[in-house]
Symmetry: C3
Subunit: 350 residues, 3 copies
């Protein structure tokens, strides 16, 4: 982080209003409590208010309504975290990706690599594939035949794109991701499994991010489709023929079964499981570790699962789950019996 | 998909009875609702019956009992999905795997590669390993020492097989799979962990499929064993000394803990967890996201877990889980009290 | 396993007391029931006592209190599994890692490789990285810029370490692990996501083990930190800014969300999910497949989740979860009504 900006420059970069000294020089970003002179921080979560007044940061990004509590220069905005995101990117080291096709890459003669694209050592690219301008194929990536990697998209390292996968523009694919492996299609022949050929592929829109070791399977007939702006964290499994709508974000370790359609603007937290052949409406938000087993047609927050508790308490209570139906029936019987008792004429009142 | 067949040829390939024009030319496969002339489709799930009558497919695979509802040529069979699987494979593009050992592969002098096997660019193969006829080691795969890759088996890309792993014939291993990494064996020395050497390896039978980024650990003393015909989806974890019986199929994101034995002909849906040192009988079927914590000795369907619901409903009800035991006890008390009350002689009847 | 030791040598290696023939030659390890002459076994779990008396092993590691039940030579120790761990390591094949930098590795001119380190075929190492003495970079590993791989640490195959990752001494990283990919940091701009630059990296202490296909993300501002002696199994996800304390062991398929701190000496079983921004105290033990959603400030065992049961039982009972709150309220009403009834003066006693 050897970059350096004036506070006025950062205000412009992140679209915030400057309060204080625009010439103040900022060399880095830090949390409120760790910041030192020359660093910029942000205040978004009220939980950290106690750190605001004592911060030694040279500037803080915060809401106009918090401005009077800020002991130093401020960048004022209604969305401090968004402004923070933009400021962090100013300080991100510029990736030095090299130039052109590395000698130790294996590019098929029938592949087409734009002169401004970079192919790193150990990358293998198959016939018919096309790498567009400013795209980057990192070390030890493998691209099959007829793959398209759109303008400015980057495969960081050891990414595998199987035959026919199409990646849009400005995508970022993290190491170990596998896109376009066969979907899990099997037909039973008296107990033995026969493979259903997976004849579709995978299409990613623009500005899609795919996390480390995430897998997105190719479709059985049509493509699996990930729309523009979708963000996938690490170790997510997307099965064949899934469709994920624009700007949906999915956290790590989530699995989505075949042919399910997830709407736009959804969020799935970590460790979620979604069964196959269902639909989630736009604006559905699923809490961590929940299992979604039927279509969710209304936007809103959905949750499932039982949270960890001290083992003895769990042990004592969880066995009762199997008695729930019987308990509910006995409860009903009691209510009936009690109302019979209460309905008995009271001798005293005769 | 430039392949083309007559309907009579497809009938023979999939073992179905032809109804209609055997000379009809079929160029591809499609769903009932999307099919156009020259394409074949299938009808298996009654849910899609509405698409059958209006399909523009040139032929449909279906059951004899549905034949009269078919508006076009038909292939009749009692197992339409199996016939469909076979037809899709007719239209699968022929993989062009190259020939022999690529110049950019690193094969140890003491490895033995069959002249009809293919080793792609970037593959690394250790001493003592043997690659049999028609086997394929894809780009950037790594094989340790003394690995056996059986006849016709294929490692698609970036697969890792550690020392001593033995793969049978006609297996298909998808990208990023790691077979034969150390099992998680640790002994505690007053809080510090010491490693238990993992001296076994992994044996896969014939016709096994392993999904992308799936991991199968080597055994502690003996091998971890995956029997013939097992199909594993993506991102599955198989711990050391597990044994999986013939023709069992396991969906994505499932984890199987150490020394557990899964029978033959089982299915585990996605996201299942199975604890260690237990046995699942042949013919056990576990629903998605269930946790199996003890041996299941009878075939049948097993399920666990709580499905996602609107967050407010969840919030209101789930806290009660910790009161279940108390509720059950209070219910019993009420029943006793009520029967005491009911047993009281009724004054009226004296 | 061509190694061979006298029993006296093994006693010394594992710190146990010899009972019997110290000159007895041991060629391998086996389970009690499978052992033959020349092999050593161990007895730790009382469940396997029936195998002890009939074992054909030439020696058994066990507790002094079990010595009289041992039909053969014995190594006596209070921690048989620890002694076993040490003995297994005696029989582990010596890894032949090669020497120096392989011709087919790509090492940046500005990287520094210790003369006693080994870099295998297909490895790619970026500028500014330093590989210390006796460290090993296996086939097809990718190291970014400014990576540190400490003395004696080994990356087995296809491991990815992104820019600035620092690995301590004597660590073991299994194939497919990705350390230092971007954390999942996103800010919303009216529904579209903008990336928060991930400016920290990852620091691993000494003697850390990382399983196959496990991912550890780089921190947003500071490093994600894994302390000395931590053992991570396969397919674990560690999000940005997580901190894991010394000697904590975590089993496969567990996910830990961002900024969470796990104490020292903890164990998390397989398939656990831990939400972000919480703390687990030292000595917390979480059972398999549990979801931890709030800080656990006391050591102890914590459990959650519902275990699989026959589907029909599950079906009948699980729907009642949504009625739990209503059931609890009705139960309370019944108790009140009943106590009103019981409080009524009994006519007989007038």
């Amino acid at each position: 982080m050897s970059a350096q900006f004036t506070l006025a420059e950062l205000a412009e970069c992140c679209g915030a209003d400057l309060q204080g000294d625009g010439n103040c020089r900022i060399q880095g970003v830090e949390t409120l409590d760790n910041a030192a002179e020359g660093q910029i921080s942000f205040f978004n979560n009220p939980r950290y208010r106690r750190f605001l007044q004592d911060t030694r940061a040279s500037a803080v990004i915060l809401r106009p309504s918090d401005a009077r509590d800020c002991p130093t220069n401020a960048l004022l905005t209604d969305n401090p975290y968004l402004a923070w995101a933009r400021v962090t990117r100013c300080f991100a080291p510029v990736l030095e990706l090299g130039k052109g096709i590395h000698d130790a890459a294996e590019v098929d003669e029938e592949a087409s690599i734009h002169p401004d694209a970079v192919v790193a050592a150990g990358a293998v690219i198959g016939a018919g594939s096309r790498i567009e301008a400013n795209a980057y194929v990192g070390p030890n990536c493998v691209l099959g035949r007829d793959v398209l990697l759109g303008e400015g998209s980057r495969l960081l390292a050891s990414v595998v794109l199987m035959d026919g996968v199409r990646i849009g523009r400005e995508c970022l694919i993290h190491p170990g991701a596998v896109i376009g492996a066969d979907g899990f299609g099997l037909a039973s022949d008296q107990g033995r499994w026969e493979k259903v050929a997976q004849l579709g592929s995978v299409t990613l829109g623009d500005h899609v991010e795919v996390g480390a070791n995430t897998t997105i399977d190719r479709g059985a007939i049509h493509d699996t489709v990930i729309h523009d702006g979708v963000k996938l964290d690490n170790q997510i499994q997307v099965a064949h023929n899934v469709e994920i709508g624009e700007n949906t974000a999915i956290a790590a370790c989530t699995g989505i079964s075949g042919s399910t359609r997830i709407g736009a603007g959804c969020t799935l937290a970590g460790g979620v499981g979604v069964v196959g052949h269902i639909e989630l409406a736009d604006g559905v938000h699923v809490s961590g570790a929940s299992v979604v087993s039927r279509s969710l047609r209304e936007p809103g927050v959905y949750t499932g699962g039982i949270l960890a508790m001290p083992h003895k308490i769990w042990q004592k209570n969880i066995a009762r789950i199997k008695q729930l139906d019987s308990m509910a029936r006995r409860l009903k019987e009691l209510e009936k019996a009690l109302s019979r008792l209460e309905a008995q004429p009271d001798d005293n009142e005769k």
